[in-house]
Amino acid sequence: MATPVPVMDDISIAALTADPYPSFRRMREAASAVWVSDARINLVTRFDDIMTVERDHGRFASTNPGSLMNKVMGHSLMRKDDEAHQVERKAIEPSFRPGVVKNHWTPVFDAIADRLIDAFVESGETDLFGSFAAPMASLCLNEMIGFRNVAWQDLAAWSQALMDGVSNYGTVPETATRAAAASDAIDAAIDAVLDRYRDRPDATILSSMLHAEHAHSIEQIRANIKVIIGGGLNEPRDSILTTVYGLLLNPDQRARVEADPKLYRPAFEEAVRWVSPIGMYPRRVTRDTVLGDTALKEGDQLGICVGAANRDQSRFSDPDAYDVFRDRGQHLGFGAGPHFCAGTWVARQMVGEIAVPKLFDRLPNMQLDDDKPARLSGWVFRGPVSLPVRWEV
């Protein structure tokens, strides 16, 4: 018998931001959906329920008239379903295919990683957030989009402003203003380069959008580039840091991975499961229905907490542990269903094959800095915000 959504009014956004996992566990144990008063949304935290949601977009839609994301970025493919979504998704695919990533983007990413490490390799210490992960993700994204003359710091600031705007469930006015300014700056950066790809198609995302079978309109280009700037920067940045952090916290695993570089790839997948960079995203209930043990009403807003599902004990043994060698199984770090992360293969290559292995190769005996502990933050988006390390020079 399905019961109404239980209310939890003792879970604050501040507590979720500091460490969401104890709260996620309570929610998983309580019901299929839980109303968290401070976040003003019904949170779905169990693995099997999220699979149900992602396989049934008739009942659980991505389209959302009141979407904060539509307000901040325009109506992107992330908030469309079915045919409308598929057409735009297909348009960008050529830039993201694993073969294109391997053959076209890998040398570009390789050079960026080496250049960044060159700048601090002699210093013996650094905070990998600012010196490596953030510029790595930003510079690679800059290349993939096809921007020219955009500083990585600007792209990173735009991405942060958009993400803050999208996760602004508390509706802070300055956050909305900053997001709007970032949106305008991105439109200008697109306008500055778009024409160069009309006659000269290449592997960039802007070029793919222009030359697709169903070419993007300018509104579609703007909205989808913003989604890609939001989703293409924080996530590789955070997963670089989380993978390094997981390996540095677990010297035995690190030794085995360093001895067999093929293991960097599962080390990356496990990092994305352990601390999923996108912890929560929304869906909308289209009609009165039941999810698991909980009755939902038409119009209910759901927060799909993949960060919680990836620690579901019914699915993963010892789920709070970082374990490169756990049984291979599906995680939800890239989502599931038709909105499965388009950048999955880019991230696998950029993070798991290039950024993380290069750091371990080039920074001998890299260790966490005992005097400056790493800090992690966030629940809608989560990752290290500071990762100070030392090594031998």
Partner: protein
């Protein structure tokens, strides 16, 4: 209905009756056939519904798009001449009696 036989890596066989119009991936999931993950539920983005179709009957299947062709090179198990992403193959009468072998892992 269209009869499709799935063969597991251990050699065990199971025949299902698939609904025309579904993809082979959807038909397998609907009958709880083991060995297909289908993380992206049919978007050709994850390569976790890889399967080996009967090589002498590939001509009767939907043609392979460039994207699927690229993705198959990155499936967890080796690509062979019968390799397809089962989400991109529609169930039609041409598949009746087809055998589909599942890889060791997705």
């Amino acid at each position: 209905m269209v009869r499709i036989t799935f063969i597991q890596p251990d050699g065990s066989r199971r025949e299902i009756e698939a609904e025309p119009g579904d993809s082979v991936m959807q038909a397998a999931l609907a009958h709880n056939v083991e060995g297909i993950t289908a993380e992206c539920n049919g978007s050709a983005a994850c390569a976790t519904c890889h399967a080996y179709f009967q090589e002498d009957r590939l001509g009767g299947l939907d043609a392979m798009a460039e994207h699927e062709n690229d993705m198959l090179d990155f499936a967890a198990c080796e690509r062979r001449s019968g390799s397809r992403l089962s989400c991109q193959v529609k169930v039609t009468d041409a598949l009746d009696g087809m055998t589909v072998t599942l890889p060791e892992m997705q």
